[in-house]
Amino acid sequence: MKKGTVEMNKLLNGLDRRSVLKGMGGMGLAAAGASFLGLPGNASAAESLNYMCWEGYNAPSILDPFQADKDVTIAIDLITDSAGGFAKLAAGASRDFDLVSSDSPWIQRMGPAGFCRFIDDADFAEQYADFYPQFAAPFEPLQFEGKATGLPTRWGWVGPTVNTKFDTLEAWSSYAPVFDSAYKDKICLLDWGDWPIMPLALYAGVNPYEELDEAALGEVRKVLRAAFKNTRAIVGDLAIAQKGLLDGSFRALIGGGTYCTSSLRLKGHDYIQSIVPEPKDGLKQGIIWMEATGLIDNGKNSAVAAEFLKYIVSPEVAKQLAITEATCNLVPNAKAEALFSEEEKKALQMDYMWTAWENSQFHTVAPNIDDMLAIWQEELAAR
C-alpha cells in the first residue's frame, strides 16, 4: 500500500459521520457568515469592483487577465433588461456598483440622472483614435449637454432576420410581409422591450423617437394589432426564436436583428441574415442599437474602474467581446477588425454593416416609450 493511501485511511478511520457533518456545518456557517459580512471571495485582491453588465462582458477570458494584471476582483451582476438595470441603480444600487455595461440610451441617461460619472473624452483620446469614424468623439448618442457618459462597446442593427433557404432578402426590403396574409403564422416577434415596437412604428410612418401625439400613438396601436394578428409567436427566448428560424417554422424574426443572427452564422448557418429594409415615407426603417460601458458614481470613483473602461474597448478585448458563446456582435474598435478571421467577419456581416448604418435610426430612449409599451401590453392581452 502506498504511503499516501495509508495516511488517508488513518485519516478516514478517525472520522466518524458526526465529525464530518460537524465539519461541513462549520464550513457552511463560515461561508455563510463571510458572505453575510460581504467579504469578497478573493480576499487577497487589493481591490474589488462590482460590475453590472449584459452577457458576454462577464466572460472569464475578458475578466481574468484584467483581474490578474490589476490585482482586482470583479463581481458580476448580469442584467437581462436594460430598463430593469437602470431602475435597480436608480433604486439605490448605484452605491454598490463601480461599472455598468448596458444599452446606450440607458447609459446616456445615467450621467444626467446622477449615478454615472461623466467622462472627459480627452482622457480617452487614445481609445477614440482606434474607433471607426462613426464613433468618433464627441459621440453624440452618449452626450448630454456636451458631456459624455461612458464609451461605446458593442453594436448591431435591428431589421428582419431572414432564413434565405425559405425566403428571399428582396421580399424583406420592407416590413410589408409582417402584415401579408401569405406570411400568416410564419412570423416571430421578439418580446424584447421596445425593440420590436420601433421598426413596426417606423413602417407605420411614425417616428417613435420623436414626441408622439394621440393620433400617432393610435397608428402605433393599429400597426401592432395588425402585426399580432399575422404573427405566429411572440417569444422572449433567443434559442426558441433561432430554432424556429432554422427549421423554417418562422420565416423571419422581427425585433432581434443582428443580436440573434451572428452566432448562428458563425456556426455555419450563413443563410441566416439580418438586413435593413429600404427607407419608407422618408423614414429610415433600420435601427442601430449600441451598448456602452459607464463608470458608476458611487463616491469611490475607482481609478481601476476607469482602467477597466479603457481595457474593455481595447482591440484585443473588443474582439473577444464581439464573439461570445451566446451572441456575436460588432464592436466600434476599427483596429479590432484586423483581428477577426474571415469567417468571423462574414458571420458579423461586416460587408453590410455601413449599409445598415446608413439606412437606420440610432436607438435612443423614445419620449413616449411607456405609452408604446402600454399599447403593446394592451394589444397582447386582446390577442
Partner: protein
C-alpha cells in the same frame, strides 16, 4: 375568552410560536405591506417618486386589459387544477391499489421527473410539440399527415406545460390520503353489499378529500404564478398575470403598477380560494356538524 388570555400568558407557548411569527412578520407581512405602500407611489423618468397618489389604482380600474389577463390567469389556473386532479387521482389510486408492488419504483420515477428543473422540462416540450417535433412525427407515422398537430405557441401548449409541471403535487397529496385509508372500511363496504363503484364514491373518495383539496390548492396557487409555460410554450397567445407583472416591473420600470397588479393577483387568488373553501364546506356534512 378566558382560555385565550391564559394561552397568551403561557411563556412556553409564546416562545414556541415566536420564531414562526417573526419569520412570517419579516418575510411575509412586512414585504406585503411594503408592496401595498408601493402601489400608492408614482414613477417619473424611470425613478420612483414617493408621492401618495391613487393614479396607479385609477389606471388599473380603468383599463380592462389588466382584468382580461387576471381573469384569464384565474381561468387557466382552475382548468389546470381540474386536469391535474383528473390525471393525479387515477395515478395515485393505481399506486395504492393495482400497482402497489411497483409503487416505490414508480414513485422514484415521479420524484425524478418532479425534481428535474422546470426550465429543462418546459423547453423539452418544444421538441415534442413543435411542427417538426416528436408528436407530429408520431402522428405522421400513424398516417395522420404532416404537421397534424399545431399546438405549440397556443394556450393549449401553455396548459400542457402547466399540467405537466404541476400535476405531481396532487399526485403525492392524494396518494398520501389514499394510503392512509383503512382497508377494513373498504372491505366492510363490500361486505355490506356495496359495489366497487359505490364503495369508491362513498368510502374511498370522501376519505381522500384532504389530499384532493390540498393538492388542488397547491396547483391553483402555483398556476396563478405560472411564468415559464406561457412564456415558452404560449408564444404570446395566452399572456398570464406573472408576465404582465414582469413587464410592468422590468420593461416599463413601473414598480407601483407591478406592485398593484401583484396585490390584485393575490386578492383574486385569495378570494377564489375562499369561495372554493366555502363551497366545499357547505357540501361537507361532517364539517358543518363539527362547527355546530
Amino acid at each position: 375568552m378566558k382560555s385565550q388570555s391564559k394561552t397568551w400568558n403561557d411563556p412556553i407557548l409564546v416562545a414556541a410560536v415566536a420564531p414562526l411569527a417573526i419569520v412570517m412578520l419579516v418575510f411575509f407581512l412586512i414585504p406585503l405591506a411594503m408592496t401595498i405602500l408601493l402601489t400608492f407611489q408614482t414613477t417619473q423618468y424611470y425613478r420612483l417618486q414617493w408621492t401618495w397618489d391613487l393614479k396607479i389604482w385609477t389606471e388599473i380600474f380603468s383599463k380592462p386589459h389588466y382584468w382580461t389577463i387576471m381573469l384569464r390567469t384565474v381561468g387557466m389556473a382552475l382548468v389546470c387544477v381540474v386536469i391535474s386532479i383528473l390525471i393525479a387521482f387515477p395515478t395515485a389510486y393505481a399506486l395504492t391499489t393495482r400497482l402497489k408492488t411497483y409503487s416505490a419504483q414508480i414513485q422514484i420515477l415521479i420524484i425524478f421527473a418532479f425534481l428535474t428543473d422546470a426550465v429543462l422540462k418546459t423547453f423539452g416540450w418544444i421538441l415534442v410539440l413543435d411542427r417538426q417535433g416528436v408528436a407530429n412525427w408520431l402522428l405522421s407515422y400513424l398516417g395522420l399527415g404532416p404537421e397534424a398537430m399545431d399546438i405549440l405557441f397556443t394556450p393549449t401548449g401553455t396548459m400542457i406545460g402547466m399540467v405537466y409541471n404541476l400535476a405531481v403535487y396532487p399526485m403525492f397529496t392524494i396518494y398520501l390520503s389514499l394510503a392512509r385509508i383503512d382497508r377494513d372500511l373498504v372491505l366492510a363496504s363490500y361486505d355490506a353489499g356495496a359495489s366497487r363503484i359505490r364503495t369508491f364514491f362513498e368510502v374511498t373518495l370522501p376519505l381522500s378529500r384532504p389530499g384532493l383539496y390540498s393538492g388542488a390548492v397547491l396547483v391553483f396557487v402555483l398556476s396563478l404564478g405560472a411564468f415559464l409555460e406561457p412564456k415558452v410554450l404560449g408564444g404570446g397567445t395566452s399572456p398570464l398575470a406573472s408576465e404582465l407583472i414582469r413587464q410592468s416591473f422590468e420593461t416599463r420600470v413601473n414598480w407601483p403598477l407591478g406592485a398593484a397588479l401583484t396585490i390584485v393577483l393575490i386578492a383574486i387568488g385569495a378570494l377564489t380560494l375562499a369561495l372554493a373553501a366555502a363551497f366545499v364546506f357547505r357540501r361537507t356534512p361532517a364539517a358543518r356538524r363539527e362547527l355546530a
